[in-house]
Structure formats: structure tokens, C-alpha cells
């Protein structure tokens, strides 16, 4: 894809290694990339806790036509825009991230615990997650 052209439209983004880091407008950016550069597939969404209360979300887009990869990264606090309206596979990824990192995706209607049982406290992959020996009362 054409980086210069892209930079013209979205000002607040910068290139860092292979990643494009954006500050906001996640939904718009990804929609723009999908429609204009044929990145038709979302390989995965990687979440990583930064340790300061923010979570880095990395969207790995893929263009089957050119066999080209693209990574878009954004730092979010508790909430992020859901891209499930653009990529259906994001529903699954966002569910997982909601469960393990506690990031709420606005616009994804299927958010609920995935691996952890309903009523589990905390989000296991956050760095400040406290493992405790208190057993869940399963009957509740």
C-alpha cells in the first residue's frame, strides 16, 4: 500500500517498524484500508497489556491478492471501537480480548466471558491480575 497517500489522509499516525500506530479513529482507518487497499482478511487481533492501565491492540490485516501483511496498532484504556461490522472474525477476537483483558468493544453485541466462567473476577492476562485461592462458588 501507498504509505504517503495514507499519511495524507490520516495525520495522527506514525510508522514504527512494520506497524502503523494510530491514536484514534480505529474503525474509520480500518474501513478505509479494507476498501481502498483490498486488505480483505483480518488474521487476528493481538492484545497486550502495557502495564500502565492501557492495552495495546494490534490488528493484523492481510491482503490475499497481494499476499501482503499490515499491522495497525492502537493504545486503548478500557474501551475500544469494535470492528465487527467490517470483519466478522473480529467478533471472536474481541470476545477473547474482553475475557482475558477486560477491554470493552463498543458495537460488539456478543461480549461475554469466553474461557472463564461467568462471574469470574479479574482478567487473567492483565499484568495486575491477582491470582487468589478463593474458589468460585459454582452454584451461584
Amino acid at each position: 500500500m501507498n504509505w504517503a497517500e495514507f499519511k495524507n489522509i490520516f495525520n495522527d499516525c506514525r510508522l514504527e517498524g512494520e506497524k502503523i500506530i494510530i491514536e484514534s479513529n480505529l474503525l474509520k482507518t480500518i474501513e478505509f484500508i479494507k476498501t481502498n487497499y483490498h486488505f480483505n482478511m483480518l488474521k487476528e487481533i493481538i492484545a497486550s497489556d502495557n502495564g500502565d492501565g492501557t492495552t495495546e491492540l494490534t490488528y493484523r490485516l492481510f491482503s490475499p491478492e497481494d499476499e501482503e501483511d499490515l499491522m495497525i496498532s492502537i493504545n486503548v484504556k478500557d474501551e475500544a471501537e469494535s470492528i465487527s461490522s467490517i470483519f466478522e472474525s473480529a467478533v471472536a477476537d474481541e470476545k477473547e480480548i474482553f475475557d482475558l483483558f477486560g477491554v470493552k468493544f463498543i458495537g460488539n453485541s456478543e461480549l461475554k466471558r469466553l474461557y472463564m466462567p461467568e462471574g469470574w473476577r479479574g482478567n487473567p492476562l492483565r499484568k495486575d491480575y491477582q491470582e487468589n485461592d478463593e474458589r468460585l462458588t459454582w452454584n451461584e
Binding site: 488474521k43 487476528e44 497486550s48 490475499p64 470483519f87 466478522e88 471472536a92 469466553l114 474461557y115 472463564m116
Partner: protein, 361 residues
């Protein structure tokens, strides 16, 4: 008509493990499907953050116990790439050999259980008979049938041996695959059950992140082995079919097994010429990766598998994430089962080759 809510699983003969589908039925027609996973969650990603690299290595085979070599390879490869270790030709060839044997074993098991879902009992046993040959070989070289733990950072645990067994396997398999095809492929009931069932068109497949045979059976030539550095010396043609249905996915896997046999015979040729076994092993005890992010991909039997490691230079990864093919296939069930009948639903979910340990991680 009032709707009936049906819990398919987690204990159900044809959900292969512990997948739970919450179906809403009108008569026998499915109006909505909601997959519920997590019954086999082992916290693979959380464990990685606590363990050192060498401690985590034996666990990675267990992400998908039917195709353990792929995940082992993926993890070793990430470490090797990060540390700049080059593999010798023989080691690379051995890895391809084992990956492809593993792919055949995985597809054989899929074939057996898929036909079991369709109600044919015999192919299940026939498939297991041939899979047994491969597993016996794995046991011979690594001491383990499924969780082999044979690849290590920078090479192999020991040099490959008993190659005559592999020669025997690839001599037997084509005949057996022909037998399966005689029994199944032209069977009118099988055609009725699979032809035109579970249509997955290109757009939907991309949209749901489907990869692997399921994608190639929808007419898209996308095989990540083409860009894989292990497969540089090897010629093969990705199996691309344009049926888009369950029958095409079945056919695709059968053809892919044949393709794997071709790859194996090429590899055996390489191994015959390249006798020298040299590898550059590293001391794993104090292994740390340089700070940064590493992503590696591989074409596993159930689609694209990839690993993401974020390292801060510590003994264990700061964050490790797996991407597995089945996870997205399960998500696809929400869409693809809508409007199908209950007994077609079994055929469709079977044809996608979902394996639960991979989904739950």
C-alpha cells in the same frame, strides 16, 4: 412455529471433544447457532508468561494434539529467528518430513471422524489403521505418539532414523487413499449428504478469517507454505477446488494428503543426498530473546497458525499469543449453520475440521 432450544454438547458424540452449540430450531431447521467454547481451556498464554522458554517448549505440542509438530515448529522457529540461528539443510528437510507426516495423520483422523458423523462406521477404523503407522513411526523416533517434543531451539533432539519406515508408509498410503475414495467419494448417499451443503463463498470465508483447506476449497489459492522458508527447495501445488461446499472440503483434504506424499518423497530424496547432520544448538537454560515483537506463521492442517511473542529481554515472554485456524471455524458456525437442517449441521461442522484444544488453548 415456536422455537426449540437445543443444547448440542458439550457431551455429544459428534462435537469432537467439548464444543457446545446452542441451537435454536424451527422443526429441524436451525434458525440460530451460538457456539460456546472454553471447556478445555488450559491457559496456554498465561502459562507462557510464567515459564521460561525451555519450560514452555514441551507444552506447545498440546495446543493441538493432533498436529503437535506444527506448533512445536512455530515456537522453535520464533526463537531461532529472534536469535538468528540458521538451520542446516538436513534439519530443515527432517522438519518438513515430520510436518507433512503429521498433516497426513491429522487429515486421516479428520476423515474418519467426519464419516463417523455421517454415519459410516468402517472408514473410521480404516483411517485409524493408517494413522497408526505414522504414529508408530513418531513413537520410534521421539518416544511419543502425539506430543512428540522432538524439535528443539536450533535443530532436533536427535538425528532422524528409520527412514525405511517412511518409505514404507508412502508406498502403502496411495493405495489406501484410493480405497477410501472407492468406498466414499462416489457413494450416492455421501454425495447427497455433502454436495451443496455448508456453502462457504469467498467473501464470507475472508470475512470470517477462514484459512487452510476450508479456504482453498472455496476457490482461493492461498497456501502459506508457499512463502515458508522450510519449503523453499520443495515443489508442490496447493490444492484449490471451487466447490465451496462440504464435498469440496472433503476432496481437498484427500488431495492434500496425496500432495503431502509427494512432498515427503522429495524430502526423502534430499535426506538421501544430505547425510551430514549438523546443528547449532543453544544453551536453553539462560535463554532470553532480544527486546521486540516476533511473529511467525505456518500452514497447519486446520488453517493458518501463528505465534506472537513480545519480549522485554526477560527469561519468559512478556506476552505470547497463538492464532489457530479452528478458532475462526467455530466462529463461522454462527453463520454457516443458519438455515441448515439438524443432520446437515453435523455434516457441515464436521467438514470444517474443528478441534477443540486448538480453540480453547
Amino acid at each position: 412455529m415456536s422455537k426449540l432450544k437445543l443444547n448440542l454438547g458439550p457431551q455429544h458424540p459428534s462435537t469432537h471433544g467439548v464444543l457446545r452449540l446452542i441451537l435454536e430450531l424451527e422443526g429441524e431447521k436451525i434458525s440460530s447457532c451460538e457456539p460456546d467454547v472454553g471447556y478445555l481451556h488450559r491457559g496456554m498464554e498465561k502459562m507462557a508468561e510464567k515459564l521460561s522458554y525451555i519450560q514452555y517448549l514441551p507444552l506447545v505440542d498440546r495446543i493441538d494434539y493432533l498436529a503437535g509438530f506444527f506448533y512445536s515448529e512455530l515456537f522453535c522457529r520464533t526463537v531461532e529467528k529472534a536469535l538468528g540461528i540458521e538451520l542446516s539443510l538436513r534439519v530443515k528437510a527432517v522438519r518438513v518430513l515430520l510436518l507433512e507426516l503429521n498433516r497426513i495423520a491429522s487429515h486421516l483422523l479428520w476423515m474418519g471422524s467426519f464419516l463417523m458423523d455421517l454415519g459410516a462406521v468402517s472408514p473410521f477404523f480404516y483411517a485409524f489403521r493408517e494413522r497408526e503407522l505414522i504414529l508408530k513411526y513418531f513413537e520410534k523416533i521421539s518416544g511419543q505418539r502425539m506430543m512428540n517434543n522432538y524439535f528443539v531451539f536450533g535443530g532436533l533432539r536427535r538425528d532422524i532414523a528409520f527412514l525405511e519406515d517412511v518409505e514404507n508408509i508412502i508406498k502403502i498410503l496411495p493405495d489406501k487413499i484410493r480405497d477410501y475414495e472407492n468406498l466414499i467419494t462416489e457413494n450416492p448417499i455421501f454425495i447427497q449428504r455433502t454436495k451443496g451443503k455448508g456453502i462457504l463463498d469467498k467473501e464470507t470465508a475472508f470475512n470470517f478469517g477462514i484459512t487452510g483447506v476450508n479456504l482453498r476449497a472455496s476457490g482461493i489459492n492461498l497456501d502459506f507454505r508457499k512463502k515458508d522458508y522450510l519449503y523453499e527447495e520443495i515443489e508442490f501445488n496447493p490444492v484449490v477446488l471451487d466447490g465451496c461446499d462440504a464435498a469440496a472440503r472433503y476432496k481437498g483434504r484427500i488431495l492434500e494428503m496425496k500432495e503431502s506424499i509427494k512432498i515427503i518423497s522429495q524430502v526423502l530424496e534430499i535426506l538421501r543426498l544430505e547425510k551430514e547432520f549438523k546443528q547449532q544448538l543453544i544453551n536453553p537454560l539462560n535463554l532470553t530473546l532480544p527486546e521486540g515483537e516476533y511473529i511467525q506463521e505456518i500452514e497447519a492442517p486446520r488453517g493458518l497458525a501463528s505465534i506472537y511473542i513480545k519480549s522485554t529481554g526477560e527469561k519468559s515472554p512478556y506476552r505470547l499469543k497463538w492464532r489457530t485456524g479452528s478458532y475462526y471455524s467455530v466462529n463461522l458456525l454462527r453463520n454457516i449453520l443458519k438455515g441448515a437442517y439438524l443432520n446437515d449441521a453435523i455434516a457441515i461442522s464436521g467438514s470444517l475440521d474443528i478441534i477443540l484444544p486448538e480453540v480453547d488453548k
